[in-house]
């Protein structure tokens, strides 16, 4: 049992422990079992189990260095776990079969953009890598969604940070993935850009996508989430359903969990 978990249950009115072990494998879209990642002697992710159904939105909070980005990297298939496995709709993320890559879209710290390509060229390039054939319709629709239609001829390097972030989101969603992974999407965004991002993320909650978001932004993270987890030292120190978690209560609880661990 994780330190702080009992107190958390009292404060928040949910039992986090149950959620760590519950079996959702029947309809699981995204599933991780015993996920570990070590960098030499440093253990970044230490045996995380995760099972997410269609339409769920998990927000992962945690201090810097908790292994959140590493976890997302493994869920995205960008890095190989030291131990454990990840599957999407029952298909293991193996390097030999790339079908599962069509089902995952990731917005990372890095935008995965080419600064000297235009907005349209960036999307067209990634679209072709994903084997998309309807790019003439799909690209304008995505740019409309993220509010970049008027910047279609701009080179990516000419865009502000917020616009680049929106373009990265359009790139991540271009192939209409089942699983969307978001790593600190609100970092460095002004209120206007954050608002656009919030609207797009709201649209993702359409019941057919599964979203995992890592963020330090408690307000945005709680507002979006159907489930919440706190990751500390490579483990989920707490996890529970978001049944109207109040920000202030959760903030107190978050500090209890983070500071209560050795």
């Amino acid at each position: 049992m994780t330190v702080g978990m009992s107190a958390a249950a009292d404060i928040l009115g949910v039992d986090g422990a149950d959620h760590l072990d519950r079996d959702r494998s029947g309809g699981a879209v995204l599933q991780a079992r015993g996920l570990c990642r070590e960098y030499g002697t440093v253990i970044a992710v230490d045996g995380i189990d995760l099972s997410m159904a269609e339409g769920e939105f998990l927000t992962i909070f945690g201090p810097n260095g908790a292994g959140k980005s590493t976890l997302l990297g493994m869920l995205a298939g960008a890095m190989r776990p030291t131990a454990g496995s990840v599957s999407v709709r029952g298909q293991a993320l193996s390097s030999s079969d790339t079908d599962w890559r069509h089902r995952i879209g990731m917005l990372s710290h890095k935008g995965f953009l080419y600064g000297r390509l235009t907005v349209e060229e960036n999307l067209r390039f990634y679209g072709k890598l994903f084997g998309l054939t309807d790019l003439d319709e799909r690209i304008p629709a995505r740019l409309e969604q993220v509010g970049l239609t008027r910047r279609i001829r701009f080179e990516a390097r000419q865009l502000s940070h917020g616009m680049r972030q929106r373009l990265s989101l359009a790139r991540a969603l271009l192939h209409d993935p089942d699983v969307v992974l978001l790593d600190e999407p609100y970092t460095g965004l002004d209120p206007s850009a954050a608002s656009v991002l919030r609207n797009v993320l709201d649209e993702l909650k359409d019941g057919r996508r599964t979203v995992v978001m890592v963020t330090h932004n408690l307000r945005e993270g709680l507002e979006m989430a159907t489930r919440v987890a706190v990751q500390v030292a490579g483990r989920f120190a707490w996890e529970g359903d978001n049944t109207g978690l109040g920000r202030q209560d959760f903030e107190r609880h978050y500090h209890d969990v983070v500071e209560g661990l050795p």
């Binding site: 790339t98 890559r101 890095k110 080419y114 990516a156």
Partner: protein, 226 residues
């Protein structure tokens, strides 16, 4: 067009477009080729040395050193904003990525190799005559073998703390067969010998290029996967 070819072409197109817009590599390689030609021209005493005897070796050395300038930076534009990770996270097979990067590098290096040939022909007064086409073919095969190995090892070196300085150490020993056959063949062709005299060497160069391509296509995924 199959999805595989579409993916290959998308990366080739992107790499060449980025090069056209940045001119980073082609300018460095082109300038090196011209300057090397000028310096070698002044370094040889033509009253004691026949230019035809040394031109082939100098052409190939210029190609190898100049090529390293460009091939070594293959993944630098990709590294900005983590773009290459985005490519690796796409469904494009890793061998398709390798073949595409190699093709784009080949286009650049082959253009430079033709420039090198032109520069040395000018400075050394080479008369290639009817062997011009064969020399162009030989340089093409050499360029292909070189970029196949260079692209693979550029991916290795970019992930190390030594970076580009490691690349020559890794690549040069493997280029020895290519240089031996390439210089020998080019020397004879420049000297006006018939093609059938060097046909075996040309086949060896072709085999070297194909072997390097195949090895690169197989090994690339082990280099780039985390």
């Amino acid at each position: 067009m199959s999805t595989y070819l579409t993916q290959v072409w998308a990366i080739v197109w992107k790499d060449l477009l980025l090069e056209i817009r940045s001119r980073e590599r082609i300018a460095a390689m082109g300038a090196f080729a011209v300057l090397a030609g000028v310096l070698f021209n002044f370094s040889i005493d033509t009253t004691t040395t026949r230019p035809e005897n040394v031109a082939a070796g100098l052409i190939w050395m210029t190609l190898v050193f100049g090529g390293l300038l460009g091939v070594g930076r293959t993944f630098h534009l990709e590294a900005q904003d983590g773009a290459f990770q985005g490519v690796l996270m796409s469904p494009a097979p890793k061998d398709a990525v390798f073949l595409a990067k190699t093709t784009a590098n080949f286009a650049l290096l082959y253009a430079v190799s033709l420039l090198v040939l032109g520069v040395f022909s000018l400075f050394f007064g080479l008369d290639l005559g009817q062997n011009l086409g064969w020399v162009v073919l030989v340089l093409g095969l050499g360029s292909l073998g070189f970029v196949a190995l260079g692209t693979l090892f550029a991916a290795v070196s970019v992930g190390t703390s030594m970076g580009e300085t490691l690349l020559p150490v890794l690549v040069f020993p493997l280029l020895v067969p290519m240089v031996i056959y390439g210089v020998g063949t080019t020397t004879r062709l420049i000297d006006g010998r018939p093609f059938n005299e060097v046909e075996g060497n040309v086949r060896m160069l072709g085999a070297f290029a194909l072997a390097a391509l195949a090895a690169g296509a197989v090994l690339f995924r082990f280099v780039v996967e985390d």
